[in-house]
């Protein structure tokens, strides 16, 4: 089984060109890349129709390893670039990968507006609660009271909850998983793509190098253990009291609704404007 999965993943990697990768040993990003590839393969999507776009940071390096149309944009702007790609060619299946700082600090504006527009693409957000690549500065999801290279006295800001933010901003599909829940990641990515609207898959990941070391979880296993112990499925959480949920977070589907999708709505605008039919258009 394990061998089969490895073989499958190799079909999608630029393994002859781009390895070894830049990530630290034990990083969760590889688990997420594997889950993404299995989801794409499981849905039977063609490599040529996938555009995998990212911003800046450790997550930003993910697309270069995969054999798709890959786009490594500027910090926080990946959804803006992805918007252009998708609208120019709606037949492309656009998937973005961002980090927590990338998506909700510098790219926060683009994130909420892409969700509001219900642009049909999937945004995977790797939330490791820290700026990893730049050396462990606190991010918008760094927990209150924890330590970072720019918060050595303890962090005094409060964290965003990315998935809840996405739900409020109007995303059609929102789910959360962790790198401990590898199968769930794959499943959530599939569901997001199948939803057809703006989908957000938040994946809690471990940065033991920059976050763990400063917060008494030096080893990746300790961090993944923490995920296992603190994650509660959405279904189970429904029957839990606020006290029981105090230090927990939910995993699973948080929103899955059908809303008018941007590219379909825009096609109606073209019809109203009297545009020639697709195929008869010049340029």
């Amino acid at each position: 089984m394990a061998k089969e999965v490895t073989k499958l993943v190799h079909e999608y990697l630029r393994h002859d060109k781009k390895f070894p990768h830049v990530w630290c040993p034990g990083c969760g990003n590889g688990i997420i890349l594997g889950a993404l590839i299995r989801a794409i393969d499981g849905l039977g999507l063609e490599k040529d129709e996938i555009v995998l776009a990212s911003g800046i940071g450790c997550s930003g390096r993910l697309p270069v390893y995969a054999d798709f149309n890959t786009l490594h944009t500027t910090h926080g702007r990946c959804l803006a670039f992805a918007t252009g790609v998708k609208l120019a060619n709606p037949t492309l299946n656009v998937i973005t990968v961002m980090g927590d700082g990338d998506a909700t600090a510098i790219g926060g504006n683009h994130f909420i507006h892409a969700a509001r527009r219900n642009l049909d693409l999937t945004a995977i957000i790797i939330n490791n609660q820290i700026y990893g690549m730049t050396g462990g500065q606190f991010s918008p999801t760094t927990p209150y009271g924890s330590h970072a290279s720019t918060a050595s006295y303890g962090h005094i800001e409060h964290a965003f909850s990315i998935s809840e933010l996405a739900v409020t901003a109007g995303a059609s599909f929102v789910a959360r998983a962790t790198v401990y829940h590898a199968i769930l990641i794959e499943d959530m990515i599939k569901k997001s793509i199948l939803n057809g609207g703006f989908g957000v898959v938040e994946v809690i990941s471990n940065c033991h190098t920059q976050y763990g070391r400063r917060n008494r979880m030096e080893e990746p296993v300790a961090m993944i253990q923490w995920m296992k112990e603190h994650a509660v499925t959405v279904e189970k959480a429904r029957n839990m009291s606020p006290e029981e949920l105090q230090d927990k977070f939910t995993v699973g589907v948080l929103a899955d609704v059908k809303k008018p999708v941007y590219t379909e709505e825009y096609e109606k605008i073209r019809e109203r404007a009297g545009a020639p039919k697709i195929g008869e258009r010049s340029a």
């Binding site: 786009l71 490594h72 500027t74 702007r77 803006a80 790609v85 060619n89 073209r270």
Partner: protein, 381 residues
Amino acid sequence: MSEDLPNRRLIQGNEAIVEGALAAGCRFFAGYPITPASEISELLSDRMPEAGGTFIQMEDEIASMGAIIGASLAGTKSMTATSGPGFSLMQENLGFACIAEVPCVVVNVMRGGPSTGLPTNPAQGDVMQARWGTHGDHPIIVLAVSTVLDSFEITVWAFNLSEKYRVPVIILSDEVVAHTRETVSLPAWDDVEVTDRISPDSPPEWYVPYEGNSTGVPNMAAFGKGYRYHVTGLVHDVRGFPTQRPEEIEAFTSRLFRKISQGFPEIQRVKSLFMEDADVAVIAYGSVARSAHRAVVMARSQGLRVGLLQLVTLFPFPRRLVEPVLNQCKAVLVPEMNMGQISREVNRVNSSACRVVKHNRIDGQLITPEELMPHIVDMAS
């Protein structure tokens, strides 16, 4: 009368830019409202869907610039339009378009600055920002428009240059050109000469996305056409993958500049008036070139041997076209609605005894022909 010339229309500069973009094959526009450029967005929100293209109003100018790069990578000619404050926000992703060699056109309808400045008044304060606004060494093309017809023709040309050289092209308009209405006769789309980027014709496995050739401009595959390659804002090798090898960095950056410098004869364009026997010249661009034109005609009627050199291409600075004028004339006047951004370039390339006279206006008002006359009379005497 209008029956004789069916394409004869009374339109403003901003509308002519819209017409030029559509005629050039632009089918994607992303923008954010800003005075005095908003008419471009408003008109394209109607015209783009009509033409089968896409208009989107983004959440800011950073996103607008990102979106047009994305659309261009997907194979669609794209444009955004803004004014000073928005142009500042676009600088970040403009650099991406430079390094990843993504064709796109950015219109900056200049208003007074810095900061919020003078939203409804003209200025030419963004000339150097257009050249050097984004960080790092980079080639870029900057064109200036001075009339409504210019706004059409130069927009078409901007797309053609952008597609041919895979470089962002900045069009500098200003509040006066943007909102002045003039009667123009625009050609039908079929009569407009249009250049498209060259797509690879090799099998995907042979495609080397950033491989140089004699022109220095690599063939460009659109996403989704079977050429799965990597696009990044990092300095990259010929395959598009990030590199830190000095020899690859050097080769890459040199090629970015070489592809433009090889095209200087085509890219650098000026318009000359009465230059044949002139011993004094006015060097101007944008709306100021209109006043300069009038001033030169007035001076000629007084028997002064004065000519006009109108810069259409501001950058790469048309040194080889300006130098002969400096060698020919005893003095040149460079009027600008800024503190002297192009006069600095003229001085830089001046190796003759020619006197470079500045005339700068920074009160939000257009320079008039009358205020240029005393300079011209003085220089000619």
